[in-house]
């Protein structure tokens, strides 16, 4: 849970520097899109509505950082992404970058269905900023990574969608850009694939690459990013801790939802309650482990720090699988008569949980909840960590259960009797 990229010797150098970015779109009240109309009304003044997509946005991203850009649909985050990727031009402000940027707004953009994989890989490589020679020299590596060497000469129109995704992904990995600009579209869809993407991003991050992730999935922002910023209404609303970004994002969403149906009993309102100090899994001997064997108990040791005064807090431990299904959930309150925590107080949550999870990847979350005035609940979701349950047993379903179920052939005589 190393969240800081600040190493000894001060912060890492800035690789993206954005200053005063401004962008507005002129939306014509009556769009003239033919020369005929233009000729018919040569003197008509076009009436435009100015739509501000970004207002004076400035920020820095440091080398080796996993930086999140969050915001609701229409907040301006996609416009910002496109300006960073040199697809749109900012009206005002400037961007400076160090190193080569590769935008991944969508997998396989620029693939030509009529051309072979070989040709497409080279063209795409150049598109990602490689020189033609570099792109050619990495061709084999790309095809190997995608496990598509045998189909190198096949036209893409004859590829299956799975093969296409593999190829596009391999190009992305091998493009080896210094700064990667990733749109959330990559993170959704096929979960197994999204996981593979994320694993690669972690690898890239550890290799000192900088990754900018644009998303409205707060889970992704909280679990992946070192730092994040929130864009709201074309403006930079907050920049800093991903938890804070997520909290403010939820608050914005709730504020808007609240207009529709106020006063419907206890409402859950997001708020900052606590932070994770440590989240460990242990084996039977008490040694920290990263992953758990199938059937072996899950031994937890969590340390959570209150960030404000908490009265009667409730802690809900949840394990979620990759399909976002909550497999189980445990609700606990403070033991030994304590009712209150002051800001800075810590609680330890530890114990053993019987493990009937099927092999696969899981996420461990903790929701910290406290009652608020008017019967509201202030909640905060903390993504503690992820882990893998490994084993060779049954993988179907969500959990494996102890069962005494047998199959027996029924002899014919027995039926007659």
């Amino acid at each position: 849970m190393e969240r800081s990229v600040v190493k000894e010797g001060g912060p890492a150098p800035v690789v993206i520097e954005a200053r005063g970015l401004q962008k507005s779109f002129r939306v014509p009240e009556h769009r003239i899109d033919t020369l005929k109309e233009r000729a018919a009304h040569p003197f008509r003044r076009m009436e435009y509505r100015e739509l501000h997509a970004l207002r004076s946005v400035s920020f820095d991203v440091h080398k080796g950082e996993f930086f999140g850009i969050a915001g609701q649909n229409g907040s301006g985050k996609s416009t910002l992404l496109k300006i960073l990727a040199s697809i749109y031009r900012a009206d005002a402000g400037r961007i400076r970058m160090a190193g080569r940027l590769a935008p991944f707004i969508e997998l396989g953009v620029g693939f030509n269905q009529e051309l072979s994989a070989r040709e497409n890989v080279v063209i795409n490589g150049v598109l990602m900023g490689l020189s033609k020679r570099d792109a050619r020299s990495r061709l084999d590596a790309v095809l190997d990574f995608a496990e598509l060497q045998d189909f190198a000469e096949l036209k893409l129109k004859n590829y299956s969608s799975g093969m296409l995704v593999r190829l596009a992904f391999a190009v992305m990995v091998q493009a080896d850009a210094d700064i990667m600009l990733v749109d959330e579209v990559l993170a959704v869809g096929d979960m197994a694939f999204a996981q593979k993407c994320m694993d690669v991003f972690y690898e890239k991050r550890d290799a000192g690459k900088t990754i900018v992730l644009v998303s409205h999935d707060m889970g992704a922002i909280q679990s992946l990013c070192h730092r994040a910023m929130l864009i709201h209404d074309a403006e930079l609303a907050y920049i800093g801790e991903p938890e804070e970004v997520a909290m403010r994002y939820y608050r914005l969403n709730f504020a808007e939802a609240g207009v529709e149906g106020p006063g419907r009993g206890a409402a859950a309102v997001p708020d900052i309650n606590a932070r994770v100090v440590e989240a460990r899994l242990e084996d039977d001997a008490g040694q920290p482990i990263e992953n758990v064997a199938q059937g072996a108990p899950i031994v937890l040791d969590l340390l959570i720090e209150a960030r404000r005064e908490l009265v009667d807090p409730v802690f809900v431990i949840q394990v979620m699988n990759v399909d976002s299904v909550v497999v189980f959930s445990l609700t606990r309150t403070l033991g030994s008569g304590t009712r209150e925590l002051a800001a800075g107080d810590r609680v330890r949550i530890s114990g053993r949980i019987e493990n009937s999870l099927v092999p696969g990847k899981y996420f461990l979350d903790c929701w910290v909840r406290r009652p608020r005035e008017h019967g509201d609940l202030a909640v905060q979701g903390l993504r503690l960590r992820d882990f893998v349950v490994y084993g060779t047993g049954e993988r179907e379903g969500v959990v494996s259960v102890n069962a005494e179920v047998e199959v027996e052939a029924v002899p014919e005589q027995a039926r007659r009797a």
């Binding site: 020369l35 300006i83 749109y88």
Partner: protein, 282 residues
């Protein structure tokens, strides 16, 4: 490779433009895409090349029949059949390239909207692919010319110069129409009509000498007039009047040259102006 110690100097990001990402990248993309498109056209189908030469040849057959048998203009012109074929192939290059270029940027929409693709590369790739095509067609034309009994002269070596002028004009017009199309969608219809008008207003079917004087002045404004005459003089008929002679002096040639240059300047100006905002127009 960026190496182990990447350069950490901050550099200005200029935003999208005609040659976004630099000259070298644009050129590499251009060559890759033009070659790929060309291969696609010729090696994709069994009759690829045959189809591409079939169109000018058929047009040639029909026009030859009409203009030698019905209107009989052709009978007075020396080597009319080869001249006609030659002109059709040259003008056909211009027509095919520009008409394909009009919608090219919109056809490549996903690349324009989702990557930093140098905008200029798109229409240029169209022109370049068509140029390869022209090269192959010219092989057939030159076989025809030799078979017709025209002897090669040293002026054949000058022909690439005329081809260069044609290429530049074609590129300029492609740039104009392709950058206007995202904003004004009727550019495609207007241009297909304009290209047809231009076909008849250029000395493709007839020599300049066959045009009455009143219309001749208008014809002299057309940059294609001196261009095609130059090609004819150098390749088909060394005795034909050159562009200067046909225009009646160099001064009369100036308007055509001015229009040619103005088209090129306008092309660069329009494209540079439109390129940064094309992604928003789509």
């Amino acid at each position: 490779m960026s190496g182990d110690t990447p350069d950490l100097t901050l550099r200005e990001v200029p935003g999208p433009s005609a040659l976004g990402g630099g000259w070298r990248r644009s050129l590499e993309l251009l060559s890759l895409i033009a070659v790929a498109d060309f291969k696609k056209a010729y090696f994709g189908t069994a009759l690829g090349y045959l189809w591409s030469i079939a169109r000018p040849l058929m047009l040639f057959g029909v026009l030859l029949a009409v203009f030698t048998q019905v209107f009989r203009i052709g009978s007075d012109v020396p080597n009319y059949p080869v001249l006609l074929l030659f002109n059709i192939v040259l003008f056909g290059f211009f027509q095919e390239a520009t008409i394909t270029a009009v919608t090219s940027i919109v056809t490549q929409e996903s690349v324009v909207r989702k990557t930093q693709f140098p905008r200029l590369v798109i229409p240029l790739a169209v022109v370049l692919t068509t140029l390869f095509n022209l090269g192959l067609n010219l092989v057939v034309v030159f076989i025809f010319i030799l078979a017709w009994g025209i002897d090669p002269t040293w002026t054949w070596l000058l022909f690439p110069l005329a081809l260069g002028l044609l290429f530049v004009l074609t590129t300029a017009v492609s740039m104009i129409v392709s950058s206007l199309y995202p904003r004004f969608r009727d550019t495609a219809i207007l241009w297909s009509v304009a290209a047809t008008v231009l076909f008849y207003a250029s000395p493709v079917l007839y020599p300049t000498s066959a045009v009455p004087e009143t219309l001749g002045d208008i014809l002299q404004l057309n940059p294609f007039t001196p261009l095609l005459e130059l090609a004819r003089l150098w390749v088909i008929d060394p005795t034909a009047p050159g562009p200067i002679e046909a225009a009646g002096g160099f001064v009369h040639l100036l308007p055509a040259i001015a229009i040619y240059l103005a088209t090129c300047v306008f092309a660069v100006w329009t494209f540079r102006r439109e390129a940064p905002r094309i992604a928003e127009q789509l």
